[in-house]
Amino acid sequence: MQTIVSQTSPPKKSVLYDPKVRGAFYQVLLVLTVGYLFYMAASNAVENLQRAKIASGFGFLNNTAGFDVSQTLITFSAAGSTYGDAFIVGLLNTLVVSAIGIVLATILGFTVGIARLSKNWMVAKVSMVYVEVLRNIPLLLQLLFWYIAVLGPLPQPRDSIGFGAGVFLNSRGLFMPRPLYASDAWVIGTALILGIVGTIVFRRWARKQQEQTGQQYPVGIITLALVVGLPFVSWLVLALVGTNPISFDMPQKGTFNLRGGMQILPEFVALLVGLVTYTAAFIAEVVRAGILAVSKGQTEAAGSLGLRPGQTLRLVVVPQAMRVIIPPLTSQYLNLTKNSSLAVAIGYPDLVQVFMGTVLNQTGQAIEVVVITMGVYLTISLVTSFVMNIYNRRVAIVER
């Protein structure tokens, strides 16, 4: 194990060839370039703003808005509300349409995705056509189409289509009775909460029972009975006793339009339908890929253990497919939320329409408005991907 170390000349270090030095050089270069660009942009902006006499700062959020918005979830009036309120109105409208859209798109998307894998040739092909057509046409076009498709055939308010029970449809939207809660409506609420709590308790108990005795219970039916049945029964009892816990504000015909009740704007419907059908096409693909990702061997193994198809799906296929589905599904949810900004094209007052549209134009404070709007979307995205990363780490299939 003896080795002779012969004399070699000590290495001459050439600093320029040291990767660390080179790295530092490139990075400094980058920082300088980016910094310079930012500096130029900022100084130009300051100069331009001064020249154009545009105010800066976020003070404008406290100024009176002076305009009205068609759909507001908080009280909002041209006289009393500020630009800050307008921001909240827009944000809430975005969130509402996104939230409902996500729920519906998920349902439709899973249905279509599973249908694409159906053994029924007809069902599979129709789903395929649905997916291909919807995916390959711009959403904007679809929204514009839905908007006229929704608006076009609807009658003027005077000729409203009535569905009975105070439900009307006309070109101003869908009108429904608005529930008014009487003082003892709390009973129903309590019943609902009791039902939910009861379900949770029951499920726990059923699982324990199963672990101990192997006995299984019809969890689904009992859940339904508790969550829906209990409130219904309590309402029935109250109604029979004579106090009516819930009354309805019915839409009435006015000069131009129906008054009172609850109104769902056609813009909202068009946006929702467009977003849901479009996103569902993408979700369907995600779902299909996820299910296909679970190998046939898994189903066969489960089958050969004697699990029934339903059980195989629930215990073996779905848990594995979900791991594949959830990450792309989340990005579809994010896409839906971001796409809701196309509301601007059909006049639904979402964040971009109200804030980046009206407020920006009324105040001229482009930088502040753009920064706030983008900040909101960015926050939603970052929070979602942060949560997703945690989830992914938790469910990742353990490998050697």
Binding site: S14, L16, Y17, G23, Y26, Q27, L30, V31, V34, M40, A41, N44, A45, E47, N48, L49, R51, S118, K119, N120, W121, M122, V123, V126, E132, V133, R135, N136, I137, P138, L139, L140, L141, L144, F145, I148, A149, G152, K338, N339, S341, L342, V344, A345, V352, M356, L360, A366, I367, V370, T373, M374, Y377, L378, I380, S381, L382
Partner: protein
């Protein structure tokens, strides 16, 4: 055939020929039973789907073809009162406006220039996407340099009129630049000649590009405010593609860089852009870009959304390319390194060609997204196809009930043909790549 149930010893002496399967497994009836009515639930579903199709398809066919109006010069042709029958799609409207939908208000006598642009685009796309086309390296050069430059000259008319002063300045700066390259090469102890050559190459590319733009080819200037329709739609998409691929690759390399600041900068850019809706990026480009530029500098109104779209697409492209880079086995890097290739050589000759090939489907899918997204420029007032349709459908000359639907159907058809074509292409490539792996 003697049964062998109880024999534990058995030898088959005569070969049983392959028989056709029993009849129930074949024929249209069997097919229908197996594929449409295999169980009561399936039967029900089939009937439901048939009903659905019955409700949806005939009216669509009816609208698009049977009751459609193909000829006419104004609204009278497409109104039930005047035409005297039920009216479906008013294709006469599209035919009447087709030139507007294609070129916008582009000067009529100059529209041949747009046609050449379409042709050059088709050539470039085919060259790049057809995997077995000859000299695809030249194709890339064409698509990412010559084609954009020529298109610029052709569409705007070129003749930027930079003036002699500019060119004097350019020559001085070029000389300095080449000198800097040579000096750097000297410092880095690589061949000064090749350093200067690289510098000169870069200058030559920029110089030739500028010279072409500056040269007066005798083409009339056509201001971008006149451009519109399919021209603008394809233009926005093309700029997005031409710009986003190289820039996306740079961003992807940046994101995988070991240098923390480079990596951080790439990550911030990519995640920022991917976190916000395109429409906000467009509005920002539209309203804020002028604010960030010096007062005397203005950016063409069409160029603003182009810049926005290009950056937006780059971020998405970067993520696709990064996927390809990550899929490259470490052995390829090591093989290249052990031959003594340096980083740029390794990337250009070994890693990127393979990584990009793997992600062709991803790239094409990004293009599809980009192509669909071009429609959003209409929201910021650019006259793309959608916008020209929107503008035409309130033309009182053509005011008729089905005009809007017809316009949208036309646009939907246009986008569908392109996007579906691209998606089939990417599927084909994907299959071929998968097949190649099993080789």
């Amino acid at each position: 055939m003697s049964t062998a149930i109880d024999t534990s010893r058995f030898v088959q002496h005569n070969q049983i020929e392959a028989l056709p399967p029993p009849n129930l497994a074949r024929g249209p009836i069997a097919w229908v039973r197996e594929n449409l009515f295999s169980s009561p639930l399936n039967g029900l579903l089939t009937i439901f789907v048939f009903y659905l199709l019955y409700v949806i398809v005939p009216p669509i066919i009816d609208f698009l073809f049977i009751n459609a109006v193909w000829t006419g010069t104004d609204r009278d042709a497409c109104r039930a009162e005047t035409a005297g029958h039920r009216i479906g799609a008013c294709w006469a409207f599209v035919i009447d406006k087709i030139n507007y939908f294609t070129y916008g208000s582009y000067t009529i006598s100059e529209r041949w220039r747009v046609n050449i642009f379409f042709l050059m685009l088709a050539v470039g796309v085919t060259w790049l996407l057809w995997l077995r086309a000859p000299r695809r390296d030249l194709g890339a050069l064409y698509f990412f340099w010559l084609f954009p430059t020529f298109s610029y000259v052709l569409l705007t008319g070129g003749n930027m009129d930079l003036g002699g002063g500019f060119w004097v300045g350019f020559v001085v700066v070029s000389a300095l630049f080449i000198g800097a390259f040579a000096a750097m090469a000297y410092l880095l102890k690589v061949s000064v000649k090749s350093g200067a050559a690289i510098g000169a190459g870069i200058i030559a590319v920029i110089g030739i590009t500028l010279a072409l733009m500056d040269f007066d080819f005798g083409l009339d200037h056509v201001p971008t405010s006149l451009w519109g329709g399919v021209l603008v739609t394809l233009l926005v998409a093309t700029v997005g593609i031409v710009f986003s691929l190289p820039f996306g690759i740079l961003l992807a390399l940046g994101r995988r860089s070991k240098l923390p600041i480079v990596q951080l900068a790439s990550v911030i850019f990519i995640e920022f852009v991917r976190g916000v809706p395109l429409i906000t990026v467009l509005i920002m480009a539209n309203t804020m870009l002028p604010l960030f530029l010096p007062a005397e500098m203005t950016v063409d109104r069409l160029a603003r959304p182009l810049i926005g779209v290009a950056f937006f697409a780059s971020a998405y492209m970067a993520e696709v390319v990064r996927g390809g880079l990550q899929a490259m086995p470490k052995g390829q890097y090591e093989g290249a390194m052990s031959l003594g290739l340096n980083y740029p050589q390794m990337m250009v000759f070994i890693i990127l060609p393979q990584a990009l090939r793997i992600v062709i489907p991803g790239i094409v899918n990004t293009f599809i997204g980009l192509f669909k997204d071009t429609s959003l420029v209409s929201i910021v007032g650019i006259f793309d196809l959608i916008r020209t349709i929107e503008a035409s459908r309130i033309d009182p000359n053509w005011a008729a009930p089905t005009i809007s639907y017809t316009g949208y159907a036309f646009a939907a058809f246009f986008y569908f043909v392109f996007c579906f074509g691209m998606s089939r292409y990417s599927l084909g490539v994907e299959r071929r790549l998968a097949a190649g792996q099993n080789r």
